[in-house]
């Protein structure tokens, strides 16, 4: 497998708690090493590896150390390690990324590539959206008995009520306490719409299982152990749906929340020039095309073609896409008290009716 050639790095540290995990993927320079680019990433290495490889082909003298963290751990480590910082920070947890940038830890950068981004995909030229990821529902259509797929949240709630015991314990979603993207999307929907409460009630009545990664959730879905996965990232969902045709990806037609993986260059970066080159490369047509073709990530650029492209997404689905903009309203989600209020509501919903076998599969 192509990846195995790249994986010369090792699992450096695996502390007792899974959330403390840091994985280092060291990618030596293809030519004579001249500099080292330290990246802290909240994305799966597998997803980002093709872009890294192409980047190193273009700049053979750069060694890349890619440190992989859970998104919340990434945030905590960034603050804990200060004043030492990596050269680039990438994560899908927009709220946490934005908080770091708002608090003045990023340095501004302007280039033709960054200026080509739409306004909502950058802020102060300090943080930039790289990919465009809708939060979708995935249904294992095997259990539907020729019923039509639910196209909106209202229809989903309706379906769950009608199926009743058939879906009990077979609905999956992120555990928002541990998964940053899960918290981001859920809290955003919570603040934007009132219908989230009905959804939460429906989930809690039917012993919804909470997962800490997309992969685990989609695997259970493919196996048929669960039949509905809610708020999965579209890129993963499409990748699995290609492999398992029984999985149907639905972008809710009432609204589809879209998150962005974002990157910023810390103010104290020791190697800002390479970080800027990497940022430009990821935002370039070539980098975005690689993200679309090889990583199944939705590139943010309009002019990238392919099945997974922002353009394709906008054209082929009638659902209203609502990107979470990079702006100060993300601060609400990072507020400690707000977070505890949202989690409190979440826990209340899942504590009382928690049934057997519903514990989260913690496989990060």
């Amino acid at each position: 497998m192509r990846l195995s050639r790249l994986l010369t790095g090792l699992l450096l540290s695996a502390t007792a708690a899974a959330l403390q995990a840091e994985t280092l993927w060291a990618l030596p320079a293809k030519g004579t090493q001249a500099s080292v680019l330290q990246i802290h990433g909240g994305a799966d290495f597998v997803a980002i590896a093709p872009v890294l490889e192409a980047y190193q082909r273009k700049y053979p003298s750069i060694r890349v150390n890619y440190h992989e963290f859970g998104t919340r751990e990434l945030y905590n480590r960034f603050l804990a390690d200060l004043p030492k910082t990596p050269d680039l920070v990438m994560s899908s947890a927009m709220d946490l990324q934005f908080k770091l940038v708002n608090d003045g830890y990023a340095q501004p950068y302007r280039s033709a590539e960054t200026q080509a981004l739409p306004d909502w995909a950058r802020w102060r030229n300090e943080i930039f959206g790289i990919t465009y990821e809708p939060a979708v529902m995935v249904i294992n259509s095997g259990f539907l008995d020729n019923e039509t797929l639910p196209s909106s949240r209202a229809e989903l709630i309706d379906l769950i009520r009608r199926k009743g015991d058939q879906v009990r314990g077979r609905i999956g979603t992120f555990d928002i306490e541990t998964v940053g993207i899960g918290y981001l999307v859920w809290s955003h929907d919570n603040l934007r719409t009132a219908s989230n409460g009905r959804l939460l009630e429906s989930f809690s009545l039917h012993d919804t299982q909470l997962f800490s990664s997309s992969a685990a959730m989609l695997q259970q879905l493919a196996l048929g152990n669960i039949v509905i996965a809610y708020n999965v990232l579209g890129s993963y969902a499409h990748a699995w749906a290609r492999k398992y045709p029984v999985l149907s990806v639905v972008l809710p037609s009432d609204y589809t929340t879209v998150i962005m993986r974002s990157a910023f260059i810390p103010r104290a970066s020791g190697n800002a020039p390479d970080a800027q080159r990497f940022l430009d490369f990821m935002l370039s047509l070539q980098g975005q095309q690689i993200l679309a073709d090889k990583s199944s990530l939705y590139p943010i650029r309009d002019d990238v073609s392919g099945e997974t492209s922002a353009q394709n997404l906008r054209l082929s689905y009638s659902s209203p896409l609502r990107p979470i903009p990079l702006g100060v309203s993300l601060l609400v989600q990072t507020d400690a008290m707000k977070r505890s209020l949202i989690l409190e509501e979440w826990r209340r919903a899942f504590e009382a009716p928690r049934g057997p076998g519903a514990s989260a599969a913690d496989d990060q």
Binding site: G104, R124, R192, L331, V332, D335, A336
Partner: protein, 476 residues
């Protein structure tokens, strides 16, 4: 080494330049004031606008603070932050403090408001909200803060909750810059328009002067007719003065021309007579007759020389009168001196000169001219006196007049001829004595120059009295 700084001679600047300079200075001063005012206004209005955003956000947050199980709970509304996001590129910091400054949520290291201000600001109206704004540096940037206090009262709780929100100043600065840029553009435009209008106004104001100038320049050197130009009132005075001047100049030129032709005539005729008399004497063979003829030639030559003298002295006099200023003159001394000078020639003619006059008669006058006048009058009196008679000269003064009278006992002048003797070269038809006919004309000119009257009256039983009366006050 000393540097000589040459100051520009402002009085020689063109009016256009002066006016332009003055109006430009004024316009620039007004514009600078305008720029200053607009900057202040821009800053104030930008400050006000974005302070309202801050207040709005703080109020929205304040609404969402409540007591739950005896604890202060702040449920941050997203709308508050969307309000703040109207300044899209500004960082936002916030915190909420409970009673006794207990930290509830947000940034725990924000700078506090200047202590004295929060407690007193707006507390008089008993409002449930009190707020204060202040500027501070936070995380290396200028940040505008609002601190809003809300009185939270429940059955078993009462205390102030403090909401502090800070926002960096990018948006307000750029709004202020934009407003003042607009104002600057407007002021610049107004400045240009005003300058253009002023230039136009100056051009229009000065155009009549240009017209006057070109009208004068176009004239031939002998054209002294009055100017007829349509000009503004201010300039019409100048035109009137020019016209008056030209009229006087014309009069002077006319007089000069008349005088020249008369003089030529007066000299040419006696010269021709002289020549023929001399010729006759040459041709005469009889010695006795020739002697008589030669005597007549001599007589004629004397008369001619008299005439030329008078003409020259009149020319000198006219020049002196035009060019010399008046001075205090002791008239009694002047008259006495003239009498003394003429006493001897008079005695040769058998005429006695008597003087009787007041002392210390002072007069503001042209001494040269006065001397000429007195001499002419005295000579005239002596010339027409019979041998053995007397010429009486009197000088008198009272409060308002000084009068000089010269009386002879000669033949006198008939009343009909009296006005004519002042004309130049007038000779009475019955007059047989020598004389140019200029003496009294010159005396009359001098008298009018001094605004004195010159009168001719008859002496008893015979003779002429010439009286010159000066007005004390009216003498120049």
């Amino acid at each position: 080494m000393w540097l000589k700084i040459r100051r520009p001679d402002v009085s020689r600047w063109s009016i256009r330049r002066k006016l332009l300079c003055m109006t430009s200075v004024l316009l620039i001063a007004v514009s600078l004031l305008g720029v200053r005012a607009s900057q202040t206004y821009a800053q104030r209005s930008a400050q006000l606008s974005y302070d309202r955003l801050l207040t709005g956000a703080a109020l929205q947050i304040a609404e969402q603070i409540a007591l739950r199980h005896g604890k202060v709970v702040a449920d941050l509304p997203r709308a508050a932050f969307e309000t703040l996001a109207l300044a899209p590129d500004d960082r936002v910091y916030y915190r909420i403090l409970g009673p006794d400054d207990e930290h509830i949520t947000g940034y725990d290291d924000l700078p506090s408001a200047p202590a004295t201000r929060v407690r007193h600001a707006g507390s008089a109206d008993g409002d449930t909200f009190r707020k204060v704004f202040f500027d501070a540096r936070y995380r290396g940037e200028a940040v505008r803060f609002v601190v809003l206090e809300r009185l939270l009262t429940e059955t078993d709780f009462s205390g102030y909750i403090q909401i502090q929100i800070g926002q960096t100043t990018l948006a307000r600065t750029s709004l202020a810059d934009e407003i003042s840029l607009r104002a600057l553009q407007l002021i610049g435009l107004l400045f240009m328009v005003a300058l253009l209008l002023v230039s136009l106004g100056i051009w229009m104001t000065l155009r009549p002067l240009e017209r006057l100038n070109s009208a004068l320049a176009r004239r031939s050197s002998v054209d002294l007719s009055p100017l007829d130009l349509a000009v503004p009132r201010e300039i019409s005075k100048l035109v009137r003065t020019i016209n008056h001047f030209m009229q006087q100049l014309g009069g002077t030129l006319d007089g000069l021309q008349r005088f020249t032709s008369e003089a030529a005539h007066q000299i040419r005729t006696p010269l021709a007579g002289l020549r023929s008399q001399a010729q006759n004497a040459l041709d005469e063979e009889d010695a006795g007759l020739r002697q008589r003829q030669l005597n007549r030639v001599l007589e004629s030559a004397d008369r001619l020389s008299d005439t030329v003298n008078q003409l020259l002295s009149q020319a000198v006099l006219a020049h002196r009168l035009r060019s010399q200023q008046t001075e205090p003159v002791a008239l009694d001394q002047l008259v006495r001196e003239q009498c003394r000078q003429l006493a001897l020639p008079a005695l040769e003619q058998g005429v006695e000169l008597a003087y009787d006059g007041d002392d210390a008669v002072l007069l503001q006058a042209n001494a040269f001219a006065l001397r000429q006048m007195v001499q002419n009058i005295l000579e005239n009196a002596i010339r027409y006196s019979n041998p053995g008679s007397e010429v009486q000269v009197r000088l008198e003064q009272d409060e308002s007049y000084i009068s000089l009278s010269v009386a002879d006992q000669g033949p006198g002048i008939p009343d009909a001829e009296k006005p004519l003797v002042f004309e130049r070269f007038y000779r009475s038809p019955n007059n047989v004595r020598t004389g140019s006919g200029l003496g009294l004309a010159i005396a009359k000119d001098v008298a009018s120059y001094h605004r004195a009257s010159l009168k001719l009256t008859d002496n008893q039983p015979a003779g002429l009295v010439v009286t010159v009366r000066f007005h004390r006050r009216r003498v120049l």
